[in-house]
């Protein structure tokens, strides 16, 4: 993780909570949605938040964010290279 960052993006108001799932959690998520990892929306490993939480290609990231309609929503993203 980079010390070069000028501020901590994870603490920024507009950055929702990101979390790398443990393999068994990831498998459970995929099982319950009935999808292969590549059918999830993607997030690049070079995405600033992905870098900040140390997500590697192949990981699944859980994002908990505010929603104008539902208040709070949990979504998952598959980390791809690049």
């Amino acid at each position: 993780m980079s010390e070069k960052l000028k501020f901590k993006i994870l603490e920024h108001e507009l950055v929702p909570e990101h979390e790398v799932l443990k393999p068994e959690e990831a498998i459970e998520v995929l099982r319950s949605l009935g999808v292969r990892p590549e059918q999830l929306p993607y997030i690049r490993a070079s995405d600033p938040v992905a870098r900040a939480i140390g997500a590697k290609p192949g990981d699944i990231v859980k994002i908990t964010r505010k929603s104008p309609t539902a208040g709070k929503i949990v979504v998952y993203r598959f980390v791809i290279a690049g």
């Binding site: 949605l33 999808v35 539902a70």
Partner: protein, 880 residues
């Protein structure tokens, strides 16, 4: 019966020369088409071996008659190969990525090996990644200027439109023959790394050596009335190709000079290019004698009139009808009036059962020419009896028994789909219940005009008859009009009261409406009301009923509702039930106690209205029934009372005009003052604007204030309860601005949001002084429609009006194209049963539809729960 098979996949490739020769039934060798007797020449483009064209003839190739002969390809051996215009991009890339000497991909062998293995892994799960890897490899190889395999020096290759490749080195211009040999040298493994499948699409085949000649069925000749045979564009083009090919062959054989051979070769390339695609940039399109460009292969497929969009995505269908629409307020909103003539042409197949055999026999007996009859009977063995030509209908009727199918005429109660283009949202196609009527137009209820965006100035609509029980059930359960009253676009009814329904509702519910027993009976009879007449509100001196009492009869007994009416504004504003002006609607326990019906309570496209809550809380069946009855009632009342609009409604006394002139004079003075300030440089500048813009804004502000004041003056002299005001205030039609423009002052005309300023040098019209930026010179209209416009004002008004027309024309075409693209990209996105939104292969788009999983149709204004309404509904009034 032929066994049904399922297509698992489709693979596209390029035909190899060998394959073309194998497919070919005959070699085409001569440009001659017909001999002196008009018979097709053997070896010509109309060779009978290419398939039969006349009925009763047997095919020389397959032995079948016309109906069964699929048509057969021929082939033409080209004297010199030419480039296929559709593949130039690929050819260019391959020439740059491979070695000019050994033909290998200009990347070291071990790297190719590595990429190949990676590609193999990616192909199934990440096809897009595989593609971009191939792309990357190609780009990388293009940058290499020395072959890693043989060490040959490489040169830049230039592409000149449309089909020329030039090496900026010793070779110079590359001939198609040379290119073909080059591409043939590329090893298969290297092609695979670059994303080509040499088995099905070897790039060397992109150079045409043998030209397939399509069957005659693809390019039929047509017999004109004059008896002259006109050939298809493709046939013409093929003849050109053959003729040029023959000349080229001849030139080569006699050893003509290289220039002549090359010219002919180029000509052959031109003909084959335009044969494939007649709209290639940089190639003059081949023309017919009339000068219009030929429709060759690519043109048959491409665009709106092409095979895909016109014949595959948009086929014409049977069991459909189209005619002009007209209104019928006596229908239910669920119904559509169908002309008898149409009903006798459209049929519904009905399977004979012991329970319907008598009914169906009656239809068959009536035959195709007497309504209600039947057009066809299908026997259990599949034989179709056309009742038009059947002399003995009685025998057919008697023969009916279970297992037969009767295609009977459309009758009352059948379900049909009704549609008006442009079909922009799902309510553009809804299911209606048939009502067969005399006349020649489709009839529909006025309340369903908004979802179709229909009016009756000549609009036509389409009607489709679902043929299977499944389709009929689906239409009835899912597509029926009543299930589309609430729009998914916004939470609210898209079907509802318009125009006279609103005026009528207002007049009936008005405080001033008292009804005698006769009138009440008349009104209730018009909706087939069968209950008791309520106690009269007024007992003496004469019994009288309030309109509100009649409306209460249609409301559910436990319905509560309270909301400001549309008319609640200005002096007549009411915000709660303690208000004199009767502009606060109050319904308690199904009793219409206060307020008036207007757009805010029954209008179409009005969310959170009385209509909306009636439908949400009592269901779509009730909603339909309420609308059918209430609207008939309102219309009956407006018929009884009479409703019109007269000149008097907008005519003000001369005194008013004097006041308006005074207002204008003051405005003019203010404008002049602003102008003077501007000239002296003392005008206050609006932040973010230039001085000139500030002046314009200031003038616009002054003038718009003047118009508003003029409007207020006119309103002051008009009866606030006249017909025009009733329509404007209740939201039935028109607005306060419309009244102002009719009675008082038209105001500023604008083009592109600015005062009109273009035309002549520094002036709008020649008789204004240059640089005059006063109101009259810049499109301000002082007069009203009633007073009449001066010629100059009329010109400015036309200029402003023209912009509106141009705008609509531009907007529709732009939004139409956007709609097409959106639909093409979203068409298979689906909300699955688990609440997720997914694309065709199950890819996730949203984890929960709209993130909250709420159907906007069942909301009010997108809010899933309206706490306020729930409280009001159950507690009743006295809250909020």
């Amino acid at each position: 019966m032929v066994a049904e098979k399922e297509i698992k996949s489709i693979k596209f490739g390029i035909l190899s020369p060998d394959m073309i020769r194998k497919m070919s039934t005959t070699a085409i060798v001569t440009p001659d088409v017909y001999d002196e007797n008009g018979m097709p020449v053997k070896g010509g483009v109309m060779d009978p071996k290419l398939g039969v064209i006349e009925p009763d003839q047997r095919c020389e190739t397959c032995g079948n008659k016309l109906a069964l002969c699929p048509g057969h390809f021929g082939s033409l051996e080209l004297a010199r190969p030419v480039i296929h215009i559709g593949f130039v991009k690929h050819i260019y890339e391959l020439l740059r990525a491979t070695c000019r000497k050994c033909g290998k991909l200009k990347i070291p062998e071990d790297e190719i090996e590595r990429y190949l293995r990676l590609l193999e892994k990616l192909r199934d799960r990440w096809p897009q990644l595989a593609e971009s890897l191939s792309e990357y490899v190609k780009r990388k190889a293009m940058k290499v200027y020395e072959c890693p395999h043989c060490g040959e020096r490489q040169y830049r290759i230039r592409y000149e439109k449309p089909t020329t490749f030039i090496e900026e080195g010793p070779l110079g211009k590359l001939t198609p023959t040379f290119i073909r040999d080059w591409l043939s040298r590329i090893p298969d493994r290297h092609l695979r790394v670059m994303g080509y499948d040499p088995e099905t699409a070897h790039p060397a085949w992109a150079i045409i050596t043998v030209l397939p000649v399509p069957p005659i069925a693809v390019r039929p000749s047509i017999l004109l009335e004059t008896g002259i045979r006109a050939e298809d564009d493709l046939t013409h083009k093929l003849v050109d190709i053959i003729r040029t090919n023959e000349r080229l062959k001849e030139a080569i054989n006699v050893g003509s000079p290289e220039i002549i051979i090359e010219d002919l070769w180029d000509l052959l390339q031109y003909h084959i290019t335009t044969y494939i695609d007649n709209e290639v940039p940089g190639v003059p399109p081949a023309k017919r004698r009339s000068g219009s460009p030929l429709r060759t292969l690519a043109q048959r497929l491409k665009g709106k009139e092409g095979r895909f969009r016109n014949n595959l995505s948009g086929k014409r269908v049977d069991f459909s009808a189209r005619t002009v629409i007209s209104p019928d307020p006596y229908l239910s909103i669920n119904e559509v009036g169908v002309p008898v003539e149409v009903a006798m042409n459209l049929t519904v197949p009905v399977r004979v059962t012991p329970w319907n055999v008598d009914e169906l026999r009656r239809y068959v007996l009536n035959g195709p020419f007497k309504y209600p009859g039947a057009n066809y009977v299908i026997e259990p063995n599949g034989r179709r009896l056309d009742l038009r030509y059947n002399k003995d209908l009685k025998a057919v009727a008697e023969a009916l028994k279970p297992g037969f199918v009767v295609e009977r005429h459309l009758i009352d109660g059948d379900i049909v789909l009704f549609n008006r283009q442009p079909s922009l949202h799902r309510m553009s196609i809804m299911a209606h219940v048939v009502k067969v009527l005399p006349g020649r137009t489709f009839r529909l209820h006025l309340a369903v005009c908004p979802p179709y965006n229909a009016d009756f100035d000549g609009d036509e609509m389409n009607l489709h008859v679902p043929q299977t029980p499944e389709a009929q059930a689906e239409a009835r359960m899912l597509l029926l009009v009543q299930d589309h009253i609430l729009s998914p676009r916004y939470g609210g009814p898209i079907i509802g009261g318009i125009q006279d329904y609103i005026s009528g509702g207002y007049l009936l519910s008005s405080k001033a409406t008292y009804l005698t027993k006769d009138r009440v009976s008349d009104l209730l009879a018009s909706i087939n009301y069968e209950g008791e007449i309520p106690e009269p509100a007024i007992l003496a001196p004469k019994q009288a009923w309030l309109g509100k009492q009649i409306i209460s009869l249609l409301l559910p007994e436990d319905f509560n509702f309270a909301k400001e009416a549309k008319i609640s504004s200005g002096a007549f504003k009411c915000q709660d039930e303690e208000c004199f002006w009767d502009s606060y609607v109050l319904v308690k326990k199904g009793k219409f106690l206060m307020g008036v019906i207007d757009k805010n309570s029954i209008g179409a496209q009005q969310p959170e209205s009385m209509l909306h809550y009636l439908i949400m809380e009592y269901g779509s069946s009730f909603g339909r029934q309420f609308m059918d009855r209430a609207f008939k009632l309102f219309l009956r009342f407006i018929e009884m009372r009479g409703f019109t609009m007269t000149l008097d409604d907008i005519l003000v006394p001369e005194r008013a005009y004097e006041e308006i002139r005074e207002v204008y004079k003051r405005a003019l003075e203010e404008v002049n003052k602003a102008l003077k300030l501007y000239e002296e440089g003392k005008l206050e500048v609006t932040p973010g604007r230039t001085l000139e813009e500030s002046l314009e804004l200031k003038i616009l502000e002054i003038l718009s204030k003047a118009r508003d004041e003029a409007g207020e003056i006119a309103v002051k002299y008009l009866n606030p309860f006249n017909n025009v005001f009733i329509m404007a205030k209740t939201g039935a039609r028109g607005s306060a601005l419309n009244i102002t423009q009719m009675a008082a002052m038209l105001g500023q005309q604008s083009v592109r949001g600015e005062r009109i300023h273009r035309g002549y040098t520094n002036r709008t019209l020649p008789f204004f002084e240059r640089g005059d930026i006063g109101p009259e010179a810049r499109g301000f209209v002082v007069n009203s429609f009633v007073k009449g416009l001066t010629p100059i004002e009329m010109f400015f008004h036309a200029a402003g009006g023209r912009e509106g027309l141009v705008d609509t024309a531009v907007r529709t075409s732009q939004s139409g194209y956007m709609q097409r693209r959106l639909i093409n990209s979203l068409l298979d996105v689906v909300v699955e049963y688990d609440g997720t939104v997914r694309a065709a292969y199950g890819d996730l788009i949203q984890f929960r539809y709209g993130e909250d999983g709420v159907d906007p149709k069942n909301t009010s204004f997108g809010k899933a729960v309206n706490v306020d309404r729930i409280v009001k509904k159950h507690v009743g009034w006295k809250i909020g």
